[in-house]
């Protein structure tokens, strides 16, 4: 992550774009939340619903699958990314699918579905405007709900102009009009629509999509086959619970009271209805989520992907989502990426946090994100994978600090040893890792008389 962070910090255009997006979104969120009388009660209810559901996940997923099937839908449980991909490809092949339109799905990013579809000769088009931009740029989303925040207007105009075969003006309305025209055609032609899933209601077999652009509606109205990819944790028990979560989702995300479109889908189209999919498939995906279930990190599965933690995170605000190296950025990404994938390889993400707690403060389902980051660091250290030289540093530190007499002797030693290295009360040189501090900031010398030396001199031996 270090190299990616360094690159991101050098990219001043990126820094400005990320700051603008996140600062705008967190201000909107703050206003929206301030306008709600019982926000804390709403958060607490949302948390309770999510915690309860996860503790009974097998029960609610069984119920959901039953209901969806009773409504005429198909349900498939995918343990791995490969299982999910194979199932979607199989459905596509059976129906001779040539073209696919997609509304936003982070699960499909996880399983790299577009690449697999392409290899099978199927064209998949992202229809969320930001995701479309990201797809044209052969890129990855850099934010949960503003996936193309890292691209500026002229970069977007360039990408669109390549598709158009002519130079397009770079104002937002023109670019938007081009996207509308181009993607409209894709919607009308597509054989299959693939969606994500904001929530699924177990009791009613409802699949819920929340969008602002309306692409979620397009994808569930026009193609004859609908495939919905759902992270297995997205289920909620009842419609009332859904309502409680909708209360907190849009406000936490963009500060809207409700997003432009909230779609509740109960099975495929019925007899006598002129449109909607003839066939509906729900793919319930694990892909590493069960690593978190039942353990100290289960709370991370409460996440409803609102992006509030990203928008307030000072690290994310400086480096954006790509620096996290995979699909999910920001505090939630730093927690779940190592758990979904591999702690040994991704544990470093948990180090890239000042533990300021801003994420925990805004999370609408009260995930203790900064505590989970500490938990990951603990787990990494337990495996002997903590970054060097810290295991050694803290072994020495413990030896000195666990005994006040050693600490006092240590202070005296430092007062002597630092002399050649200190000028005007500031360190001029220090060994690693302190040298990394000095690379950016001044560091004061150890005081010639420590507090405890002063106390001893002034007040005797203390108690």
């Amino acid at each position: 992550m270090r190299a990616r962070v360094r690159r991101a910090l050098q990219d001043t255009a990126l820094g400005r774009a990320v700051w603008r997006t996140t600062d705008g979104m967190r201000s909107s969120r703050r206003r929206a939340v301030a306008a709600v009388d019982d926000w804390e009660a709403k958060r607490e209810r949302a948390r309770q619903i999510r915690a309860h559901t996860l503790d009974h996940l097998d029960y609610y997923l069984t119920m959901l699958a039953q209901r969806v099937r009773a409504l005429g839908g198909h349900v498939f449980f995918a343990d791995t990314a490969q299982d999910a991909v194979d199932y979607v490809l199989d459905v596509a092949r059976r129906h001779g699918v040539r073209s696919v339109v997609k509304s936003k799905s982070m699960v499909s990013e996880e399983i790299e579905l577009n690449a697999h579809l392409a290899r099978a000769g199927i064209t998949a088009v992202e229809t969320d405007l930001g995701e479309y931009i990201v797809q044209l740029g052969n890129d990855r989303p850099s934010h949960l709900i503003a996936p193309a925040m890292h691209k500026n207007r002229s970069q977007i105009a360039q990408l669109f102009s390549q598709v158009a075969g002519e130079a397009l003006p770079d104002d937002a309305p023109s670019l938007n009009a081009f996207a509308r025209r181009t993607l409209r055609q894709k919607f009308l032609e597509a054989d299959m629509g693939i969606t994500g899933c904001n929530f699924a209601v177990a009791e009613t077999g409802t699949l819920v999509l929340v969008t602002n652009e309306g692409n979620g509606r397009m994808v569930t109205a026009l193609p004859r086959i609908q495939v919905t990819l759902m992270g297995m944790e997205r289920v909620v028990p009842t419609m009332d619970d859904l309502d409680a979560l909708l209360d907190v989702l849009a406000r936490s995300a963009t500060g809207q009271k409700m997003s432009s479109y909230t779609t509740l889908t109960q099975g495929p189209r019925r007899a006598g209805e002129p449109d909607g999919p003839e066939e509906l498939h729900l793919v319930i995906v694990d892909n590493g989520r069960s690593n978190m279930l039942g353990g100290e990190f289960q709370e991370a599965l409460q996440c409803i992907r609102c992006s509030a933690c990203q928008n307030v995170c000072p690290v994310f605000q400086h480096v954006g989502g790509h620096a996290y190296g995979w699909v999910y950025g920001g505090p939630i990404g730093a927690v779940i990426t190592p758990l979904l994938r591999d702690l040994d390889q991704w544990g470093e993400l948990a180090e890239a946090s000042s533990l300021c707690g801003a994420c925990t403060e805004v999370c609408p389902v009260k995930i203790p994100l900064h505590d989970l980051l500490i938990g990951l660091r603990r787990e990494t250290a337990r495996r002997g994978q903590a970054p060097r030289p810290y295991p050694a540093v803290f072994r020495v530190w413990r030896r000195v600090m666990a005994d006040a007499r050693r600490w006092e002797r240590g202070l005296k030693a430092l007062q002597l040893l630092q002399r050649p290295l200190v000028r005007d009360g500031r360190w001029r040189w220090a060994p690693p890792p302190v040298s990394d501090w000095l690379a950016h900031r001044a560091l004061p010398a150890v005081a010639p008389q420590s507090f405890r030396q002063w106390w001893r001199a002034q007040r005797g031996m203390g108690r």
């Binding site: 000042s354 801003a358 970054p387 600090m401 666990a402 950016h440 900031r441 507090f451 405890r452």
Partner: protein
């Protein structure tokens, strides 16, 4: 109310680098009629190791505080961060060990300095005089961790001659973050530079706060930038009786 007895937890950082903050804390509390002692067994709350994932090391060091403050009625520290460590994480750190009850007990008896003055002593005017334009850095562990937002502001507002100016984006982290400051030094510095920019925009003569860790980081950055206000701990301002010149920059 009889004389309150308080044990000072000075924190390792103040002990080694900023003794004047500890001295100011002692003098301030004594001036407010509190009897202060300093148990010598104390070293550090263990937070650096705890936050880095080294729980055993943290526990061994944190135990020095359980020993030092076993008999203290109140423990007061000039740091939001270290108090947050004791209040929130000591019970977790010692859970399931023979010292669990001691950790719970210490968590309940420990206060951040400003919180102690406004909430235990019920004082907002400590009789200080400090003619300067001051802005206040709300450190994360004090505000979010302990919920201490108003006490330091009330205390500073009551200081004679002091003009308190709002810091834009006050709730944003300064980027210190313990070992984060060296593990991701460039990122930490970038966060600090943004904070320093906000601080400079206030035109304040002095930047103050509850935590010397954040302040050391910010002052270190501003020294390298060659501009920015003086940096002082709140205790030093609250202990000032004369002109700004008499308040020693830590």
């Amino acid at each position: 109310m009889g004389t309150l007895r308080v044990s000072l937890f000075v924190t390792c950082l103040v002990d080694a680098f900023f003794p004047s903050v500890g001295q100011s804390t002692v003098e301030l509390l004594e001036r407010l009629g509190v009897q202060v002692d300093f148990p010598m067994q104390q070293t550090c709350c263990g937070q650096p190791a705890f936050n880095s994932g080294f729980a055993d090391e943290a526990r061994a060091v944190a135990a020095t505080l359980l020993d030092a403050f076993a008999d203290s009625e109140y423990v007061v520290a000039p740091s939001g961060s270290c108090v947050a460590m004791i209040r929130h994480y000591f019970p977790q750190l010692f859970a399931g060990t023979p010292r669990a009850a001691e950790a719970e007990s210490l968590a309940q008896r420990t206060y951040e300095l400003c919180e102690f003055i406004t909430e235990r002593l019920q004082i907002t005017d400590v009789g200080a005089t400090f003619p300067a334009r001051v802005t206040y850095h709300a450190s994360c562990h004090a505000t979010r961790g302990l919920g201490i937002k108003e006490p330091p502001l009330r205390l500073l507002e009551a200081v004679r001659g002091l003009e308190l100016v709002d810091l834009p984006y006050a709730e944003d982290c300064c980027g210190f973050g313990g070992t984060f400051a060296v593990k991701f030094a460039d990122l930490s510095a970038a966060m600090g530079a943004k904070k320093a920019g906000h601080v400079e925009s206030t035109g304040a003569d002095v930047l103050t706060g509850l935590d010397m860790s954040c302040l050391m980081h910010l002052r270190g950055l501003m020294e390298r930038r060659g501009r920015g206000p003086r940096v002082m701990h709140v205790a030093e301002i609250l202990n000032s009786r004369g002109g700004a010149a008499s308040g020693r920059a830590s």
